[in-house]
């Protein structure tokens, strides 16, 4: 079933837990599109052949067609109400506007700039101060005097995540609007200067996935690419241990 749908609607193989619901809605809404379009198309071909002037020289009013079309309209209304209230609105409440629940969450901060993603980890679990004043010294403006920053790891365009662990990514931008698009996880979120936004998901497949900047941000927009590496918990712990306090 999944394979068949995958063929009909070519999306990237899903790599997160939460994306499943999104895919379900994607299939359903395209099912509705398909039904309506095919239904109309069949009607259209029939009507154009049946009532061509060379065959039907005199136009006549008809009432059965009216009846049928009002059924179609009601069908559309009901289908849309269902998709909205049973799927789209709850999905948004939980996954886009909502925050992950539970304690065992990895927090990562991402600061976007023309044309790169700066990534920051706080292995101790505590992010120290950062400020624009220090942007000249380091790309994320970490305050060198704050002890909480000592063990921070910063990377550029590379995010490491342990599999099966929910991650909450906090997004800010230094310059213009970017958008953090990670299609394999079915997440996307604008990154807007002057605002803080979030994405969260639970990766459930090992591998590397591409982050594609999804908002025109200047000449380098097309190559503003990042990588999310989903690794095993032990590989992740090892990576953290090796890189503690390293900024690049």
């Amino acid at each position: 079933m999944d394979n068949l749908l995958q063929k009909l609607l070519p999306m990237q193989p899903l790599a997160s837990v939460e994306g499943r619901d999104n895919d379900t809605l994607m299939y359903l809404i395209h099912g509705l599109v398909l039904i309506l379009f095919v239904g109309w198309a069949i009607y259209y071909v029939v009507v154009l052949i049946k009532f061509r002037a060379t065959k039907n020289s005199k136009a006549v009013e008809s009432h059965t067609a009216h009846q049928i079309s009002s059924y179609v309209e009601w069908f559309v209304v009901v289908a849309e109400i269902l998709l909205l209230f049973a799927f789209s609105i709850p999905f948004w409440a939980v996954h886009q506007a909502g925050m992950p629940t539970g304690k065992d969450i990895l927090q990562v901060r991402v600061v976007a700039q023309q044309f790169a993603w700066n990534v920051r980890y706080a292995p101790s679990g505590k992010f120290g101060r950062s400020s624009a004043r220090f942007l000249d010294d380091n790309p994320m403006g970490l305050d060198p005097n704050d002890p909480d920053n000592k063990d921070n790891i910063t990377t550029m365009n590379q995010i490491y995540l342990p599999i099966d662990k929910t991650v909450l990514i906090t997004l800010t931008s230094k310059d213009v609007i970017h958008s953090f698009g990670l299609p394999a996880m079915r997440v996307k979120q604008d990154v807007i200067p002057g605002m803080t936004t979030h994405v969260w998901f639970t990766p459930n497949k090992l591998g590397s996935y591409e982050i594609a900047c999804s908002q025109l941000c200047g000449v380098g927009h097309y190559r503003m690419r990042g990588i999310v590496n989903v690794v095993s918990q032990s590989d992740f712990d090892q990576w953290i241990a090796q890189n503690k306090g390293i900024h690049d």
Binding site: M11, S69, V77, E80, S88, L135, I177, L216, V219
Partner: protein, 590 residues
């Protein structure tokens, strides 16, 4: 069709009803206040802009299909700065993209649908001599021309044209080079032109209807223009205001759209800050969404006229259609934030906007269904205008349907800003609206010139255009589902995930190039038929019931040769007991 010669064929040379003084060439054809001449002036310019915008896209399509390969033959003509050695630079690509969108929307499709057909047909279809404010009308045209040419001229700036998308989001646009300043000035002028036109159209429709032309007897096209005019009138001022604010940010050091603490290109950006980047998006889309209906409604009106005439039937559910577009007009002001779902909007506000977006799909379904049902029982004539109108329905319908996944906020997450969006709205605007507008040109050409456009060339235009358009836009939906983003200078080659769908880029681009060839028969046909086309033997060659066909061909200054009174509904076709299968609105006996 009965082959009888229409007895009421006027000879235009004797039909100068209003006894005007001899006019000089300049005041008759250049600085004219006649709504028909102004309509035709708009026609030439908007077709030119449409063609220009299309050519920009063809350049981009080369780069998308063959990133980094020199454009053969003409590549070097664009200068060392834009295309060194014929290879397109990213900065130039972004200029082309922004200008394609801007030109197509504001200088091509909207003027063609609203200003061309509105100007030419509103007075004719309501039985008036001219617009309510003819000189204001002339001013609208000239400000449109100035704004449009100013927009094009920005390509000749050393820094080039605006390059921030047709949406011009802040802060990118605030900090961009001077092309953006010209974009803002041109937009301000174009907006003034639109505002004046819409005032004029509204006043004309309310004040100058012939006796007996009640609102119920107005053709659907007039209703569509009326709603369009109201949309422009109410939606454009916020964008005009926003454009001035962005100009202030750029020229006067204000920071309406600039938050504090920006750090651009390795430096603190020296402005006071405190502004809001999102404010621009809301002001822009408050126009931007109604603008979608400004694009659609005139074409919908045109197609309705043509379908009624060529099925020889009244429009089924005409009353419902009128209520539907009124409802649509109101609703179009409360859906704009479906363009900003991913800016961090909360659950309630997205719930509101996705609900309104789903609601607005219902009147659209009703309108399309009404047109579909009209066909049932009709006596369908497949002439050229009708072919284009018949292609409009399913293409436009498909465009509308692919809007549903974008309207649901949840499925918009993966689709937003991908080629899926490009595929969706181009189905609406290109195989939809543009074909509808072509239908109008083929349909009213005989009224304006007294000659028909050539049938064979028309088919040579229609079929390849319809087919290639689908090869251009359908694959974009597939690419978008795969996650391929729009506005990509290299067509997405940077991304591994896109590699499976990149081969479509070549197919799309070559289809677009063939589509270019398919426009040549139209261009030739248009100019050739103006002077050499087959002459029509009647003022009413399609045997239509609406008023514009009661004028001489072409209509002279002042339009009608006798006072007009309206006796019946616009689509009085195949009436019971009538001698012919059409009963003109201005004839007392059926």
């Amino acid at each position: 069709m009965s082959g009888t010669h229409d007895p009421a064929h006027h000879d235009p040379s004797h039909s100068d009803s209003s006894h005007h003084h001899q006019q000089s060439f300049w005041s008759q054809y250049v600085f004219s206040t006649d709504h028909k001449i102004i309509g035709i002036q708009y026609l030439f310019m908007s077709l030119f802009f449409l063609f220009f915008g299309f050519c920009l896209m063809l350049l981009m399509r080369w780069q998308i299909a063959y990133p980094g390969h020199p454009l053969p033959f003409i590549g070097k003509l664009f200068g060392e700065h834009n295309m060194p050695g014929g290879i397109m630079m990213p900065q130039f690509y972004n200029q082309l993209g922004a200008m394609h969108g801007t030109i197509m929307v504001f200088l091509g499709v909207v003027p063609l649908g609203f200003a061309v057909f509105g100007n030419y047909l509103i007075p004719l279809q309501i039985g008036a001599k001219d617009m309510a404010f003819p000189r204001l009308n002339m001013f609208s045209y000239w400000s449109f021309l100035v704004g449009g040419l100013l927009m094009l001229s920005s390509f000749f700036l050393p820094c080039g044209a605006a390059s921030n998308g047709w949406t011009s989001y802040s802060p990118l646009s605030d900090i961009a080079h001077d092309g953006q300043t010209i974009w803002l000035f041109s937009m301000a002028i174009i907006i003034i032109s639109s505002l004046l036109s819409s005032l004029n159209f509204i006043t004309t429709i309310f004040q100058l209807r012939a006796p007996g032309m009640t609102f119920e007897r107005l053709p659907f096209f007039i209703w569509a223009q009326l709603i369009t005019a109201f949309l422009l009138l109410l939606a454009f001022p916020p964008l005009e205001g926003a454009a001035f604010l962005q100009l202030c940010d750029r020229l006067l050091g204000t920071s309406f759209f600039l938050p504090s603490g920006l750090f651009v290109n390795g430096h603190v950006y020296d402005v006071s800050g405190g502004g809001n980047a999102l404010l621009w998006q809301h002001l822009f889309w408050f126009l931007g969404h109604p603008e979608v209906y400004v694009i659609i409604l005139p074409a919908l009106g045109i197609v309705t006229e043509i379908i009624a005439c060529n099925t020889r039937k009244n429009i089924s559910g005409f009353g419902m259609m009128r209520w539907s577009i009124i409802f649509l007009g109101f609703l179009s002001f409360v859906v704009w934030s479906h363009h900003t779902y991913l800016t961090g909007m909360g659950t309630n506000i997205t719930a509101f906007f996705q609900t309104t977006t789903m609601i607005i799909s219902i009147p659209s379904v009703i309108i399309i269904s009404a047109l579909f049902i009209t066909l049932w029982g009709g006596s369908i004539r497949f002439n050229l205008p009708m072919l284009f109108a018949l292609a409009f329905l399913p293409m436009f319908g498909f465009g509308g349907l692919t809007g549903l996944p974008l309207g649901l906020a949840a499925t918009d997450i993966p689709l937003h800003d991908t080629y899926y969006v490009i595929g969706h709205f181009h189905y609406v605007v290109a195989p939809g609206v543009v074909l509808g507008l072509f239908a109008g040109i083929y349909y009213w050409f005989p009224k304006a010139t007294g000659r028909k456009m050539n049938d064979f060339l028309g088919h040579l235009h229609f079929w390849p255009t319809l087919i290639t358009m689908n090869f251009v836009f359908f694959p974009m939906l597939i690419q978008g589902l795969m996650g391929l983003n729009r506005r990509m200078y290299d067509g997405g080659a940077t991304y591994n995930f896109a590699h499976g769908v990149l081969f479509w880029n070549v197919i799309i681009s070559w289809s677009a190039f063939i589509m270019f060839l398919a426009q040549l028969p139209f261009i030739f046909n248009f100019f050739y038929s103006m002077f050499n086309g087959e002459k029509v033997d009647s003022d009413n060659p399609w045997h239509s019931a609406t008023l514009e066909w009661a004028t001489p061909t072409p209509p002279g200054h002042g339009n009608f040769t006798k006072p007009i009174t309206v006796y019946r509904d616009p689509y009085s076709y195949s009436l019971e007991g009538a001698p012919k299968d059409y009963s003109p609105q201005d004839q007392k006996e059926i």
